[in-house]
Symmetry: C2
Subunit: 292 residues, 2 copies
Amino acid sequence: MTAQIIDGKAVAANVRAEVGKAVAERVAAGKSRPGLATVLVGDDPASHVYVSSKRKACAELGIESFGFELPADATQDKVEGLVSELNADPRVHGILVQLPLPSHLDEEKVLRAISIEKDVDGFHPINIGRLAQKGRDPLFVPCTPAGSLVLAQTVIPKLEGCNAVVLGRSNIVGMPVALLLVRANATVTICHSRTKDLPSVVRQADVLIAAVGRPNMVKGSWVKPGAVVIDVGINRIEDPTHPKGSRLVGDVDFEEVKEVAGAITPVPGGVGPMTIAMLMQNTLRGAELSDK
Amino acid sequence: MTAQIIDGKAVAANVRAEVGKAVAERVAAGKSRPGLATVLVGDDPASHVYVSSKRKACAELGIESFGFELPADATQDKVEGLVSELNADPRVHGILVQLPLPSHLDEEKVLRAISIEKDVDGFHPINIGRLAQKGRDPLFVPCTPAGSLVLAQTVIPKLEGCNAVVLGRSNIVGMPVALLLVRANATVTICHSRTKDLPSVVRQADVLIAAVGRPNMVKGSWVKPGAVVIDVGINRIEDPTHPKGSRLVGDVDFEEVKEVAGAITPVPGGVGPMTIAMLMQNTLRGAELSDK
């Protein structure tokens, strides 16, 4: 059996198209144009690429974007001061502080400074705290975790009662995706580097979310036949046969696992495109919240 | 084989003795006497009993307590106003708003009004959010979850790599205990009413935390031989053979499970006494935080 390949690009394109349509409609109705402010501190090349992709997506969907760049040695006060200004700016409905921040900055303090009504990344501790609590809805859900769930739900619309296994417990993916799965009424197991006999734990998953950052770690023999496998990993490995000498792979050994799983996301073209699509959706939501 | 009975009363008495000693030492050293403010809204008899036990424990350990009672129809503003006053009162190092609140009040908003430096119940969304995130330490950990872990660790001091199963996902016990177990490097499975084939999931637990509020639900056949079973449930069931016509039982069928488990907490006398002991520890911690 060969698994269904979950086309993240196509799903993300649908989400983006819907957001673009809603933006056009609200602007036509005389409401504010959604605006996203991006804050980039320092010179990390990968962060520059991410921020510029996000701003490009904004432009395509009619969302205004405001780019701010601060030097790598910007002080805590400077970064928080900028965030305060953006909190007060009515043109800005979402504030994205690109992580990671330089190590001299207190990341949690910066994230806490963002107004929770503009926390489109969903990493404000209050939004994370609400995600972990029944009956308390976060205003925004972190983008990559939300996108991972959307992809799983293209195959299993109702995750209720599924055995879901989350590999990895990072602040950005593993833990919030686990909290989302609990909210979706799945039975959730959180695994990590200290888990004993990982293959046998993973083999219980009806839905597996792999987010550990280890190339090709999950083997075919680890996966329950028919399982839905969402691969959040993006790892660059050497490959002399490739023109660039390297290529991107996920945390899942795609060639092996696609022969066992029921459905699987590819890398690239799986979860990756969903992150920006969900950010656009969150920015639209920020604008909608400001209407009230 | 008969399981070791984990004596929660004895463990709690040790914690309380340590807190009492530390209180006496800090007062002797000229530092502030720890103070706990309790806020009770309405006439729920169980809540009255809980609050009075907490104030009694304070008195025993040299902690000052300040009791506030508001009528069942107190407005949101009234409750938040009282919390603000207590935030500003230097004699108060911990603020405990007894839950549940009457249904017309916004519970999360009340909890958010508490200064996180005085959040001895650990339910402020920022403290819960930090609990869910690596590298971000909550100032206070919720009392019953913390006490449950202390009891498990009397048998397995290092929970790293254990398979821990949490039965229940409540805001007050299940979810925070799961987050604490992840922080302790256990592999954690969160089960609940929608979990399929619950007995077989529970049977994988090296450590089982039962917190669902269903009398005697967990049977002997559900438990892995040698497992550590922490029973958070406190349920009153009819029993005509008892003088009162009823008695307290946990979520675990104690008589069956003690023949299979390696260690088990009784009900009463297990987790129950730990809750107040951890609250006293948190109040001391609140006073220590105020020293800085």
